[in-house]
């Protein structure tokens, strides 16, 4: 009780900017997007302040989607604004920020302590440009209770998923119950939507900065998603569905299977959820004869190249990406750790038991193409996926458009 009052007072004081102690000689401002639980990160920042007297850290929040946040940071950074010292970045952005010279590299940092995928995502041309904040990847959420009722095992392929949905729909006879919810709106999530079955066919999009587009695999991927709509497995307006819509529909009990990131877990077990204790999380299915593939997510901490407190900012980022901080965020914010041992940590598993199986998924997750022009790559893929799901473009034309436009961007 006493502690929560203290935290509340600290929080409100920092909101009003009145907490500046007289001895503070270094002030750092950290940008955290509003969907990433700034109140839990605040607890980690308080620990840092306690260990570093004389340093005061404030949070600036903004942008509740990856795209909105990128637009804001693009504006700030292209104006060479020095007001932000530390930035949280989507895993797809360090390459762009490094190319633009917006983040300061970390010298002599040992990246082998992190999961290999994040060591790789934060290293551009041999330089460490950011440090991992938390790990993430896409999972298949399913209704444990419904699958058990009809004696169905969690599907290993998309065809099995279709069959499972047809069996459950036939038995439940509930027109409001949707078989599968995924992201069809033209948002960042739709890039992963396209890539999941594409990767599952063993194909890569980009290799060493060169486009290795496989048109047949692309057509198959788009056809698969369109077939979910056409066969009534997913609802007809799937082209309007964004990531958080999927989370809400699933949490309301209106969906059997959902493709989503790990954050959806915490709320599906929260007090506003209709499916507490009825949720299973597993690997995403594969295409028939293919391998199970998922999309690598997660966010990183970068130090602004325009920050006037380079050393203090780097010290803070080293702390924010430490094992101690990672554990705190896993336990209190159910964010996947970037340190391998934490997936067997008793405190972490007590808070989120399914993390025990999640490490293998994160370790095999595939990164989206690493390129400074990622925003353009993303736009091409997500608008095409959206057009195909809306029935405006055929899968064949869509794949041809993606190929033609990606060739221009990655020439």
């Amino acid at each position: 009780m006493h502690k929560s009052v203290m935290v509340g007072a600290l929080l409100s004081a920092s909101i009003f900017g009145l907490a500046a102690p007289a001895f503070a000689d270094t002030e750092l401002k950290v940008y955290i997007s509003s969907q990433h639980q700034p109140q839990v990160w605040r607890q980690v920042l308080d620990k840092f302040e306690a260990a570093n007297p004389g340093t005061k850290v404030t949070i600036e929040t903004g942008g509740n989607t990856s795209e909105a946040q990128a637009q804001y940071l693009n504006t700030i950074m292209s104006a060479k604004d020095a007001s932000l010292d530390v930035l949280i970045l989507d895993v797809i952005r360090p390459a762009q920020f490094a190319a633009a010279g917006w983040t300061s590299p970390f010298e002599g940092k040992d990246m082998s302590v992190y999961l290999p995928a994040y060591a790789e995502a934060n290293t551009v041309d041999g330089k460490v440009v950011a440090l991992p904040a938390f790990a993430d990847s896409m999972f298949l959420y399913y209704r444990k209770d419904l699958l058990e009722k009809y004696g169905i095992q969690p599907p290993k392929t998309w065809d099995e998923l279709k069959a499972a949905v047809k069996k459950i729909n036939g038995g439940e006879n509930n027109p409001d119950l949707q078989g599968l919810s995924f992201q069809g709106k033209a948002i960042e999530g739709a890039v992963c939507t396209f890539l999941l079955p594409y990767w599952s066919q063993g194909k890569n999009l980009v290799d060493n900065g060169k486009l290795t587009f496989d048109k047949t695999a692309a057509v198959n991927s788009l056809k698969l998603w369109k077939s979910f709509v056409d066969e009534g497995v997913s609802k007809k307006n799937i082209a309007e569905v964004a990531t958080d819509d999927t989370r809400k529909e699933f949490q309301a009990g209106n969906v059997v299977f959902a493709v989503n990131w790990s954050y959806a877990w915490a709320q599906s077990q929260g007090k506003d959820s209709a499916v507490v204790g009825k949720v299973g999380v597993t690997r995403l299915p594969a295409v028939a004869g293919g391998e199970q593939a998922t999309c690598l997510g997660g966010w990183e901490w970068g130090v602004s190249a325009y920050s006037k407190n380079q050393d203090a900012a780097k010290k803070l980022v080293s702390f924010l990406s430490s094992q101690e901080a990672s554990k705190h965020m896993a336990v209190n914010g159910s964010l996947l750790p970037t340190y391998s041992p934490l997936y067997q940590d008793a405190d972490v598993l007590k808070a989120a038991p399914w993390f025990a199986d999640a490490k293998q998924v994160v370790e095999t997750a595939k990164p989206r193409p690493v390129t400074p022009r990622y925003n353009e790559v993303s736009e091409v893929i997500r608008t095409t996926v959206n057009a195909v799901l809306a029935g405006v473009t055929t899968p064949e034309d869509g794949a041809a458009q993606i190929e033609a436009r990606l060739k221009r961007i990655l020439r």
Binding site: E67, A70, Q71, N74, T75, S78, Q96, A99, A100, G101, K185, A186, K236, N237, A239, E240, P372, R373, N375, E376, E379, T383, T384, N386, A387, L389, A390, G391, V392, T393
Partner: protein, 310 residues
């Protein structure tokens, strides 16, 4: 000091034309002096940015490439001509202008005539005219995005009450386009109405009384008196409306984000995407130059029309 003053006075008395020439000159100097602040301000906030925009459009300048700006001549314009999305967004912009400008004029005219009727209480009518105009564009876009939502939207709900099956508005390019145009007309017709209403109130009542005496009906009065006298107000309203229509951004950005695919994206959205999201300032500038040229053409055409009418 004294001698020179005397000298000047002498010269002034001897050569009065020189004094008047001097007076002319100082008049001009005064004019220049008085116009200077406005001129300076205009060149700083309009002329310089426009020239800078045209200059940047000749460079390859992308913040994601990590390369310094490089002069490429007309390459950005060459790319634009080959870019199907440029043509699609430009065509969408023109189509929005062609549909929403006349649409807003007709609806705005009707609203203005309605508001001009001798109601006992004027303020509720005027207030309801002002509210859509005062609402920020992005709010209007967001509100109508919910209205047209296929599951939670009020439009499909009303349709269902009349036994008509709802449609997924944002799944079809033509329906999404129609929803956007309806929203723009709703949002902008009150601006038209306000200007036309101001015009209506300058028409003397005596003209209508004379027409009544001469036996002219209501319809004839509208076409013979109201419409001709409203022409200047209508032209002004049309100029403003057309230019803002060419710059349409907020409403489609909030309603569809340009979707499905890129079928409802406008030129302004494409400029925003290239500069803010892709950080390709060279190409974005070239696109903005085209939009500037389009707006200039429209303004020149309207100004010509006013001049010939006078």
């Amino acid at each position: 000091m004294t001698t020179s003053t005397l000298n000047i006075t002498d010269r002034m008395e001897k050569q009065p034309p020189a004094w008047s020439r001097l007076l002319d000159l100082s008049d001009k100097a005064l004019a220049v002096l008085l116009l200077a602040p406005a001129g300076l301000l205009l060149s700083l906030i309009i002329v310089y940015p426009v020239l800078r925009l045209v200059y940047t459009s000749f460079f390859s300048l992308s913040l994601t490439s990590g390369l310094p700006a490089e002069f490429v001549g007309l390459e950005n314009y060459q790319l634009m001509i080959e870019d199907p999305v440029f043509w699609e967004t430009t065509w969408n912009t023109v189509l929005i202008t062609l549909i929403t400008v006349p649409g807003a004029l007709v609806v705005g005219m009707a609203l203005a005539l309605l508001a001009n009727l001798p109601f006992r209480r004027q303020w509720p009518v005027r207030l309801s005219l002002l509210i859509p105009w005062a609402l920020p564009l992005s709010f209007a876009g967001l509100i109508f995005a919910w209205f047209f939502h296929s599951e939670y939207g009020v439009v499909n709900d009303v349709l269902a009450r009349f036994g008509i099956e709802g449609v997924i508005w944002f799944n079809s390019p033509s329906l999404a386009f129609a929803a956007i145009c309806l929203t723009i007309i709703w949002k902008t017709s009150s601006f038209m109405a306000l200007i036309i209403l101001a015009g209506l109130q300058t028409i003397p009542r005596s003209l209508y009384e004379a027409a009544d005496v001469d036996g002219a009906g209501r319809v004839r009065q509208f076409f013979e008196i109201t419409l001709p006298l409203l022409k200047p107000a209508i032209v002004v309203a049309l100029i403003f409306r057309t230019i803002t229509a060419l710059q349409t951004f907020d409403i489609p950005f909030m309603m569809t984000g340009g979707g499905p695919g890129t079928s409802t994206a406008t030129l302004a959205m494409y400029i925003h995407q290239n500069t803010v999201s892709f950080l390709d300032l060279g190409y974005g500038s070239a696109l903005a130059v085209v939009m500037f040229a389009l707006s200039m053409c429209v303004t020149v055409i309207y100004l010509r029309i006013i001049r010939t009418k006078e």
